[in-house]
Symmetry: D3
């Protein structure tokens, strides 16, 4: 196989989050590769690289955030262009992997979208992936190619440090987030409380138990992503009912924020909402919202990848 020249690389970005791409390039002391990512009059994705990638190691930056299909097709198009132009090795940096929740069938007649997306990314020639806080660790196994999973927990903890009131517990909004909550608690030197929730319908959930004590404590609700805000809103309600202090902070890696999410999160007890910029945040005039950049983390990963180094300490 054509090998990438060691140490030389180029980063191109799709349209999902150009600001993050620029920050990462900046952190790396590099320049974003020139490329056109546009639409034909019929809305079809139009892509062109403006510089040579021959045998270069190429990083393609693109979260598959909403509109996920368009962002996915852009990423595929960029990878196809790179492969056909003789790129040496194509790594996709997908800070937010937007089909991560579709990692299993709940009945017998559904797709497994996360595996499907893994397959199509690989068929166009993407040989390596860098992703942040995957919804479940099994998703790595949907890929045959190597996946370097990063976590934003240390980044968010760093940003949280000055902001946390005394007497705070980390709250996992359901049992699935327990491993992530434990990472927060370990870094922040506090303990974990778990909410047991039941999904009542597609978008509605109900908290049935709280494992651990929240009485008279401030709470840091954590999650991998905030989409509708419903989970957080339910959690806030349950925590307050259980005697928590009305000092609640919310931290999540991916701030997807669909229509109505801000309203659900705007409870007077919610002091701060922290997310990273894996997904471009378009909300304005929302004083509680703080966006922490993931760029240093990803730049660090790219630097180690290019230099042949180990990513263990970034896990």
């Amino acid at each position: 196989m054509r090998a990438a020249v060691i140490g030389e690389f180029k980063i191109f970005a799709g349209s999902a989050n150009p600001a993050l791409a620029k920050s990462i390039a900046c952190e790396l002391g590099a320049r974003l590769g020139g490329c056109v990512v546009d639409r034909y009059p019929d809305g079809n994705v139009a892509v062109e690289l403006l510089e040579s990638v021959r045998r270069k190691e190429v990083f393609l930056m693109q979260s598959t955030s909403p509109p996920a299909s368009d962002h996915l097709v852009e990423l595929l198009a960029l990878a196809d262009a790179c492969r056909r132009a003789g790129a040496g090795c194509i790594t996709a940096i997908v800070p937010y992997f937007g089909y991560g929740r579709a990692d299993k069938r709940s009945g017998r007649r559904e797709p497994i979208m996360a595996r499907l997306v893994a397959d199509v990314l690989q068929v166009v020639g993407i040989e390596h992936l860098v992703m942040v806080d995957l919804h479940t660790p099994q998703i790595e196994g949907f890929f045959h190619s190597p996946v370097d999973s990063l976590t934003a927990v240390p980044t968010l903890c760093e940003a949280l440090r000055g902001r946390l009131p005394a007497g705070i517990v980390v709250v996992s909004p359901d049992v699935g987030r327990l491993p992530m909550a434990s990472r927060y608690a370990q870094r922040l030197g506090t303990s974990v409380v778990v909410l047991h929730k039941q999904r009542v319908s597609g978008t509605e959930t109900r908290i049935t138990h709280i494992v651990g004590n929240v009485s008279d404590l401030a709470c840091l609700i954590i999650d991998d992503m905030i989409t509708t805000g419903g989970t957080v809103a339910e959690s806030v309600k349950a925590l307050l009912s259980a005697g928590a202090r009305p000092e609640i902070i919310v931290a999540a890696t991916h701030g997807v924020f669909v229509r109505g999410a801000r309203e659900k999160l705007s409870h007077p007890a919610v002091r701060d909402v922290l997310v990273t910029d894996t997904v471009r945040v378009t909300e304005k005039d929302w004083p509680q919202l703080h966006v922490v950049s993931i760029a240093p983390l990803i730049a660090g990963a790219v630097r180690r990848i290019v230099a042949d180094g180990s990513l263990v300490e970034l896990r």
Copy 2:
């Protein structure tokens, strides 16, 4: 491989054109298979089959018309659901193959989207394709799987018959449409005129020559698809300058009609615009527009495929 039970089949439709799917099912005396094709709150495609496809021969109806990425991902999701549910053989009916014009690179650093789409359709388990009036015949070669290419020319000619003024020539708007124009001319018993056009920019073209005589003749401008309407508008202008009678009819297989197309087509000399329903037409109150259904053609193909018959006469 799990074989489909011969003669039994199911048709499911994505959201691109449910009306066409229903018409085809109706033509076949069949029922559309029950399925949910929806969106999660974050806009991601959500798909579920509502009936068993185990070992059934499955036809998935979906044009990759705008929004093409969403319609493509829906088709992939449906195919994944079918494959995982044990479908016997999965055929995609893609009446309008929306990446057909992206069948080559114009520089060195572009994708070949039509091949890319062929690859991703096949990787999810689509083993056979039925498509109508492909932009170039080479697209069949982008697929390893069999492709049954149909043409809407006979269908449109049938619809045109009563409507054509005497003394009419078929006009190919550029040299690439010459084979299609010849098919029209042969069926309608008239001759072909070819416009030589030059693309000035991405969306603008200029006619430089007219091969053949149009003086004092009515014109039938044909094309595989109408997107912006620019090509037709230019052709109308050139034909009238060359002395054509202001009796112009336009026929195209795929009526994609992006914003502004109707205006470009609304020239007083344009008497009628005929398209098929490969793409769902949402234009209303446009008296010149006539939509001819492709459903009988596709139903005929399905019937022959299921019954093991030859499609040669449908070519």
Copy 3:
């Protein structure tokens, strides 16, 4: 592809659990296909089919229970022999998928064995899988081929019915088993209690919380598999400390029972241990152990698969 003749099938069994294979064949009114599954003098797997499989639908029965590597290689060898002999469609029935717990990497430098096994099963020509109570539902997504996941919960509930004392709760030994515990509870008309455990080392765990009330109640501890018995022993201890009645019943789908497991399970409070025969049970003289046959469930699945029917009701 060569198609299997509809309705005709053959079942062959590896050496992992011939008794179960026979029971299934018996349930189906069929005969086990003749085959030799042996060892060369150097211990290498030696396989030969004794009857024609040409275009037959073939089911290969083999749990990848310990010794897992040998049982896996036997299954691969059987599939290779079938494919080379012209079998029409090869389905592996793997009642116990022995690498299910290795479904993710805990660090960066580990294999994902469950995906690896999925890949090698598929590369030899296995096109369909039937498995029982997978460790996580994501494992289905490690396969590109269709996977029909069955559950032994109804079978075990049926067997439990006469045996259960009044006033019993279903105990999930950790949060991962909660969905399975809920199924038990729903069928048995009772409620669920969840233990929160922490893994202290590779084999040792510690219970930290009990979510729900067990005071003065009998307990049905459920799990997908029992290997060392350590989880159950820990659970028993914790439940008794929390005031549960010393009337504990244990139910699990897969009774792997490695050396020492029986001792760990032999607590005076443990009245009954129920497992199915997905793994061959070699324990003798253990009055508390009850083995419930999964054969009717699997036979039902085979019957529906062969007859083109739906497995939805077996989920």
Copy 4:
């Protein structure tokens, strides 16, 4: 996968040996499928099927006899045409597999042509192979698809029966042919003699030992193929030197007969040369040459394949 309709099949033939194809069709009471196998003015292979193969089981008859490259490309072209036309299952009947001797590398920098040919046959969609007297049994393992290996030994023995003088031994011209020689001897009720030969150069060999007694005996020299005739000529010389009677009969499955072969075989002691028609024999006026048709054997295999039967007795 699209399944072939059981029991219906079509046979098409490349240009390597149309007479054999016709005989096989005739034996089967079938008609050869209509197809054009021609050359463009530049010598490129031009192929067209003249009848529908949709979902039919298709057999493609073509030995890769000289000119091997052209015959191979014809076979690939036929398979591609069938696959694209929706054929159900494509079996190649390759009575003479012309790259069989190139089954290993003698140095480090050679191709393994037999594996290469296996790969290209499979990539165009050939899913099953029928071949006769492969040069080594390992060649089956170069294919992932099933290979049904037939042998012409019984056919040739039948033809030899009336023709054999008393007191005859079967002669294996080298140790590699020993298994084939033993099959002859077993059927003819006689014993085997083996010549040990050393290859002196690419085309020349020297016999160094004769294992077994030939003194005053007639000899049946057998081989899988006769190409230059050099091996047979050397064997004749060695046998006569060792005291064999000058009554020698030669039997080989594949009569490739390159230029000069007839001269080498025209020794007065060689009474008869028997070959089958796996390769089209164009030699004329050669009274010692007898061509025995393999058609009944292959027709028998096709009949069993189509009817789902076992080929064990044809081995």
Copy 5:
């Protein structure tokens, strides 16, 4: 993947055009890699590399010119030998891609030879292609691997410059060659005339229109390849009838020249015929024929590929 050592490469040549291979090596200041490309007595391709390719970047030079099947199989054999010998990256330089016209099906039951050849080239391990003036740009899309398409137009224009009479137009012999004709016209500072031709039969064509003025002008007929010479002969006749001066020059990239081509081109009005050496020209004593070497162009491409450079300026 084993990576080629950057900057080191080897070129090996098949038997199609050793003189061109030598010229390219000479231009590069390199030596052709030693290899044997021969035939066994039965005509089968025999290949052996005479030097190590371990981890070297390897270029394999071979046009698939007539006899195309043999030249194709030689190329496959060379690639297989390289891959098995541990080559780092295998690029095929196919100056004339001999199946380029077979890029579509005209009916439903034909192969698409250009795609078939793309598939078999890739299956043996060819990862990159360099080709000159492909018949249609879509052929790039038949390959999954990167294709670097070069054009001989600048090379031929350079050679034409001194030779062109004043008052000359570029003639495209059919509408398909229009883009190539425009490139010539742009470089030579003149205009384009297009002939509209109809194919009457497999080898015969008829010109129906001439778009543009040729009256009293000299003509440069261009084409991608000359095979039978029929297209050129027809064009000459039509141009003269339309009043062109009997000063006609013919330029084509690929001079395939099958039997009879020279006669068809030997019209008194045809002053010069220029082709490149992508195909070995064996014609002798033909004063009008001028062969321009493509070696500098290809050497330039190889130099840039090896040095990681851009080929954009060679397009």
Copy 6:
């Protein structure tokens, strides 16, 4: 593709023969890469790399000696871990390829295990193999990846030199070992004798002829592997009956030695038994047994592979 950094490599070893791995590392002046190769309580293979392999060239040492299934699965697991951890190029060094004898089907309904193992090794990402004295050279063709076959004959000849009595012949125990025997004879300057044996049953053989003279000569019986010792024991008996001197030496590359082998080899005439350490020898107190290390040979191959050199002289 991600390329390995040239010249840097890591060697990891499975549990089959850690001593050999250490010797090889030592010969190379390298350190064995740290890794855990262990078993879970249920006996399943557990693997973890303890150091980074990112973009490193990785060599995985593992013979598939008994227990072959476990050793195979360990090798697969190591390769999966390396691929997922971003290794540059994965080469498996399999000194003893334990399925080599299963290289063909003897009937129609058997697997071809050697091809099966080749397929699974490649599917996990092993791109290159180094093996010693393969049972048949065709096995290289079961792999698509390059295979570097080494031979232990020079190593064993070197070790034999001082030990050989005068007047010795090399004995090939059957016709399949003739090429290996010739290599011995050529190096030792003596001649070859071949035994013709017939397999009576699975484990029993009978010698029918001895080609060449052994009368009053010492014998060196050679073989690729010794498993049960049956072949050697039979050979010894036959040679003594034919008048050989009771001075017999046995040399084989792979000393598999299953239970009972030592007894069969312990004939008073057998003076010495030489094997290499491709398989870990666990026999103790067996004075006739001499184990010669293959480490220098394999280290030499690794050194040349890493340095991009030729292995021709190691053949």
